[in-house]
């Protein structure tokens, strides 16, 4: 699951993304126009179908993993055998 700050709090020079962008610019990566900093969370589930896992993870994101006031999120479901 990946959550990112919504665009709204990123106005002005306040966001971590803006600071990272400035750092990149000072290293010569001037082509960077926008940086967004977020979180990566990996959750392992047991004994559930892909469909059910999708429903459950969506609920986890809404209830705890992301704060909808300041973050949006997306996630991918991978069956375990594919991850090995």
């Amino acid at each position: 699951m990946i959550s990112r700050s919504r665009p709204e709090p990123l106005d002005g020079s306040s966001a971590p993304g803006v600071t990272v962008k400035q750092g990149l610019a000072s290293l010569g990566f001037g082509e960077v126009v926008d940086v967004r900093v977020g979180k990566y969370i990996e959750v392992n589930l047991e004994g559930t179908s892909e469909h059910e896992a999708r429903r459950r993870v969506e609920e986890m994101c809404r209830q705890l993993l992301a704060n909808h006031v300041i973050e949006d999120f997306r996630f991918d479901i991978e069956p375990e055998h594919k991850r090995r």
């Binding site: 700050s5 709204e8 709090p9 002005g12 020079s13 306040s14 966001a15 971590p16 600071t19 705890l64 993993l65 704060n67 006031v69 300041i70």
Partner: protein, 234 residues
């Protein structure tokens, strides 16, 4: 009048708040452990500053699932006084007892310094002893105190007069230079629509005795203690 000070693993301002309640104001005090399933008959519950549950995931995100928080939600619904200071404010926002969120300071720095706050509501149990638009000198100590809410929520807060404290200059002017963290509209503290749940980033418990450099914070503690007394008498 009985104050309850909530202690989560990682809370650090509980003894400071308790000291002011017990030793300075002289009110009844009890500590509420995060696993407590009842509020021990408290009239006002304080959620103090710190890093509850290490602030893992987000500030206040885990604390809201503590058993004591369920009781506090019901207590607030019944009109009980709930007062979140610093991390306590962050917990109240995560718990949905107050709108919005506290995000990283605009400077990206932890800020530990004195601020000036203009009091915009004096009709609340928390501010009854303050003068209209009085300027209080109260310290802050936080890395994530920048108040954020979406435009609709912000406009609703303003229309309903739910902004209680705003960062200002010593003369009471709400100017960008007085904003220590990038909070929208210089917001330092808000109250719920009913007026019984207050959240604020500055630390009144750290300026309630002259030895600590100021006593403006004591006005808030006295307001709560005396207001509850009035309610009891009437």
């Amino acid at each position: 009048m009985k104050f309850g000070v909530v202690v989560f693993p990682g809370t650090w301002s509980d003894r400071d708040c308790g000291w002011v309640v017990d030793q300075v104001v002289g009110a009844e005090l009890t500590y509420l452990w995060h696993k407590d399933a009842d509020l021990k008959g408290c009239d006002c519950v304080i959620l103090p500053g710190g890093f509850a549950y290490g602030d893992y995931l987000r500030t206040g995100a885990i604390a809201r699932f503590a058993p004591v928080m369920e009781q506090i939600g019901e207590f607030a619904d019944k009109g009980g006084l709930v007062w979140g200071i610093c991390n306590g404010f962050q917990v109240l926002c995560e718990a949905g007892l107050l709108p919005g969120a506290l995000i990283r300071n605009a400077s990206l720095e932890f800020r530990c310094e004195w601020t000036n706050l203009v009091v915009e509501r004096t009709d609340l149990p928390f501010t009854a002893r303050c003068e209209e638009r009085e300027v209080l000198r109260v310290p802050i100590a936080h890395g994530e105190g920048s108040y954020f809410a979406d435009p609709a929520t912000l406009s609703r807060l303003e229309q309903r007069g739910q902004v209680v404290f705003r960062y200002c200059d010593p003369g009471g002017r709400v100017v960008p230079a007085a904003n220590p963290n990038g909070s929208l509209h210089n917001i330092a503290g808000i109250v719920n629509a009913r007026g019984n749940v207050l959240g604020m980033m500055p630390h009144p418990e750290r300026c309630s005795e002259a030895e600590l450099g100021g006593t403006d914070g004591l006005k808030l503690f006295r307001s709560v203690a005396e207001n509850a007394l009035k309610v009891f008498v009437s």
